[in-house]
Every structure is written in C-alpha cells, then in structure tokens.
Amino acid sequence: MSRFLNDPDNAVTETLEGFLLAHPELERRGTSRVVTSSTPPTGRVAVVTGGGSGHKPAFIGYIGDGMFDAVVCGDVFASPPVGSVLEAIRTVNTGHGVMLLLGNYSGDVMNFEMAADMARDEGIDVEMAVATDDLGAGSNVRPDQRRGVSGQFLIWKTVGAAARQGASLAELKQLALDVNSATRTMGVSLNGCTLPGSTKPTFSLDEGQMEVGVGHHGERGRSTEPLVQMDEIVDRLVDEIDQDLQLREGDRAAVVINGLGGTPMLELYIAYRRVAKVLQEKGVSIEVNFVGEYFTALGMHGFSVTLMRLNDRTLGLLKDPARTPHFTQTSTPN
C-alpha cells in the first residue's frame, strides 16, 4: 500500500519533528524520543506513558495540563527502549515520584520494568500500572494476559487529573488499577494495516467479512466472521463486555467509541447511537462519552467500544478540565 512518507525508516523521527514544531508548548532534548510538557510537574507526581508509535493522537497528543508530563516514543508498534524510558523518568521527576502508565505488551512491560528498576536504583520513586482492558481474545483469557487498548484513555484522563490534584504515587497506582478493572473494550475491523516501509497489510479480509477482537496494531483478532449490520455488531460487543463487567441497573458508565484511524466518524456515531440505546434499556446511565479517534492503528478501518463503571471520584476526574494538543476540555459539558 502507498503512503505519504519520505524514507519510511524516518517516519517516527519526522513525525516528532513536525509535532514539536506544531506544538511549541512541548519539549524534547535534541533528537531524543522523550517528549515532555514545557511546564514541569512542580510539587506533584509526574505521569508518564509511552509505547510504540502509529497510534496518534495517542500518546503525545495528550501531553499537557491534566494528562501526561512526558511520553516515550518507540518506533511504529514497537516499545521504546529502556534507555528512553529511563530518560523520561529522570526528566520529569521533581522529587515526588513518577507514575508509569502502559498497556500490557511484553515489549512495553519489559522495557518499562527495566527502566523503573534502574530509576529506583537511582533513588527515584516509580510505580507502574499495566492496562488490560481488552476482551478481544475472549473473556476466558486470564485478565493479566489481556492487552491494554483504547480503554486506556480513561486511565490516562483520570490519573492525569488526580496527579494534578496532588494524589500520592500509591494513590495514583491504585486509581489506575481501579479504573482498569472497571473498564472493558472490544474491537472489530474490516482490515489490518500496513506499516510504513511494508507493502502488505498485516491482514486483509474479503468483502463482507469482519475481524472480531482486534487491537490497535493491525493484529488479527479472535475470529473472522460475516459482516453484519452495525446494530448487531454493537449488541454483540456490548453483550460480551457486559458479561464480564456486569453492569447493573442504576450503574453509571463512561463510554468510548474509538476509531482505529480509517473509520468515518459517521460510523462511530452510528455505533454510539446503539450503545446508548442498549445501555438505556439496561437502566445504565452514560455520564460521559468520548466518540472519535483516541488510539489509532495507522489507517485501520475498525473501531472499539469501551465501557467503564463509574463512581463519584472517577466521574469527577473524567470531567475535570484538561488541555493538551489533541484533547482539551473546559468545565463539564452540560
């Protein structure tokens, strides 16, 4: 597949250059893969995430007030190396410790864990929370083997807000784990994606088929099935999520409909329409929703549905203002 690029091997480097030129409120040292806010996290814990590139707006689009203090950027779909993670930790630590948020991928876990160990050896307080919101592989997969997917946006938002409010490192870790265990995601797609420099997509489907249980790396999902109508797809995703999450009448929920990069927003809102109807029938009230592209897989045509059970604290944190290049909210809409 064709792409608009220069040398594909420079894609990430050039993206970072463009991003830093476009957003002067961000910083990086030289050609480093660590991007930070130019406002240091004074008097509070710093929040850091990172992972492979190709997921924009994630992760660097969310650096700023109320979300991340730093992001460590890997190559496309590849965890950043230990050294970069360590550099990020050192850069943003102002003596109050560093909270690392990441998704459950061997590469990320290993690189972040090694860097956290090294930072601790240097006397920096570091905690790590690994997101596992994905039910793509089926609910029989052990929770600690699940991927972190677009439900992570809710972790980022809540932890970022709590850090700004002055929560301790231990509290932030607990919050991240709580949000993670209150959150489930399921994704579907019509194709895989083509990495820069590659000519073939990770997979492709025949007309009229869909892949169920995809993540955001163009990986195949659990099964290839006949494409059915949107309402039927949504009913099935919500049903699988709910069998695991067990929302009850009277519960409050947050919903994310995340486009994977090539999905028209029209389709995302048609999906949201159905999610809203199904939850209303269950007596679950949607208190906050995010419909758009939060965590993409290059130009993959697919989307995921995330549901999260809310409590007063997490709802407040989700509605808290934030100001970053690709997510800004002022006070509570409505």
Binding site: G74, S79, G192, L195
Partner: protein, 220 residues
C-alpha cells in the same frame, strides 16, 4: 573461542538485516508485523558499533552488542536479545578459567537462554524464542561434552537445535505475548522471535566454520 567473533557477529548482523521482510511477514501472521523492522534496525546499530570498536575481546563484544540492542529500538526483542547478549558476556567474564573453549561457548549460550527466560517469563512450549534458545542451550552443553568438541561444533549443534525448536513452534498454540490473543489461530505459524534466534545462531555457526549437516532454517 578461536574464531573471529567480531566477524561472526557482523555476519549475523548482515543476515538479520537481509531477513527483514521475511521476519515481518512471520510477525504479521502472529503479531503486529514489525519484528523484522525491529531486528533489522537493532542489528544495523550493532553493525555500526562493532565496526567502530577497537576491542576483539569476546566478552567486550557481546556486552557491546547487548547494550546496543537494548537501547536501539526497544520492542519485545530489545530487552530479550539485549539481556541474552549481556548475560553471555557476563558468563564469559565469570567463566571458570579451567573450562575449555567449547565449554565456554556452551556456557554463554546457556546464560543467554536463562536471561531470556528470566526477562520474558515464558516457558518452553509457549511459542516464543524460548522454544529456540532453550533446546539450543541443551544441545550446546551436550556437544561441548564430546571428545572432539570445538566452539564450531557447539554452535552448530545449538543452531540445529534452535532450528528444530523453531520448526516445532508451528505446532504450538501461543500462550504468552502478543500472539497469545490469537489462541488456536496461531497453529501452523512459525514464531518470528524463535526464527531470529536461530538466524543469529546459524550465522555464528557458519562463521565459526562448522560443517553444515543439513539446511536448517526456513524463513516461512
């Protein structure tokens, strides 16, 4: 080790870079399609570093490779290959001076296998590079005990065992890492990381001049 390890590592680096597309294809079937890119970029960095280092001391070279891989690209292969090379370097440095050269080679491979298992927490049968490096370490130990053992025969035995282990991954269902989410759909596909391990061991064995018993690694 009497052969030129630097030459051998450079040879391995070149072979890894040439296998980029095939390794990506293997990873596209089981994962996210980037394994070849990560390996190629890491070993391009290895090639650069090796070409500019003065030292020819095996432990130094392995340490250099380990640190380079660890900090080049990241990914899953970074910490795994990085720790493997760093641990084999340490194994050589700490080796009992009374050990023979083939015994040291086997000890280095064993250290690599241990490091990969420690770092990734995968077991044999999980369909990862562990399924290549663990049998390789066992075969290396056996080969090093033979009366006519050389580093070359040890590496050859390791490479052949790694290749067999890699071939065997086709029959396994992934139980860890990215591929594990595909469950039964992973059957029939060869693990990319195991393939890379084999490629590196074969390149080293070939450079060490061991006679090739039979063609071992198929990149698909």
């Amino acid at each position: 080790m009497s052969w030129d390890l630097k030459e051998a590592l450079l040879h391995a680096s070149k072979n890894v870079q040439s296998a980029r597309d095939q390794l990506c294809d293997l990873d596209a079937a089981l994962g996210d399609g980037d394994h070849g890119t990560s390996m190629a970029r890491s070993f391009a960095a290895v090639e650069r570093e090796l070409s500019s280092t003065e030292s020819n001391e095996p432990a130094d070279l392995l340490e250099l490779v380990g640190n380079t891989v660890l900090n080049a690209v990241g990914g899953a292969m970074g910490p795994l290959f990085g720790s493997a090379f760093l641990s084999s370097s340490t194994a050589l440095r700490n080796a009992d001076p009374s050990l023979s050269s083939p015994e040291r080679t086997a000890a280095a491979i064993a250290a690599a296998a241990n490091a990969i298992q420690r770092r990734g927490k995968a077991s044999v049968g999980d369909k990862t590079m562990v399924d290549a490096i663990v049998p390789a370490a066992e075969a290396a130990a056996t080969a090093a005990g033979q009366p006519d053992a050389t580093s070359a025969t040890v590496l050859r035995a390791a490479a052949e065992a790694a290749a067999a282990g890699t071939e065997h991954t086709k029959e396994l269902i992934a139980r860890i890492g990215r591929a594990s989410r595909l469950g039964e759909r992973t059957l029939g596909h060869q693990d990319p990381g195991a393939t890379s391990i084999t490629l590196v061991l074969e390149s080293l064995a070939a450079s060490a001049g061991a006679p090739v018993g039979h063609p071992v690694l198929t990149l698909n």
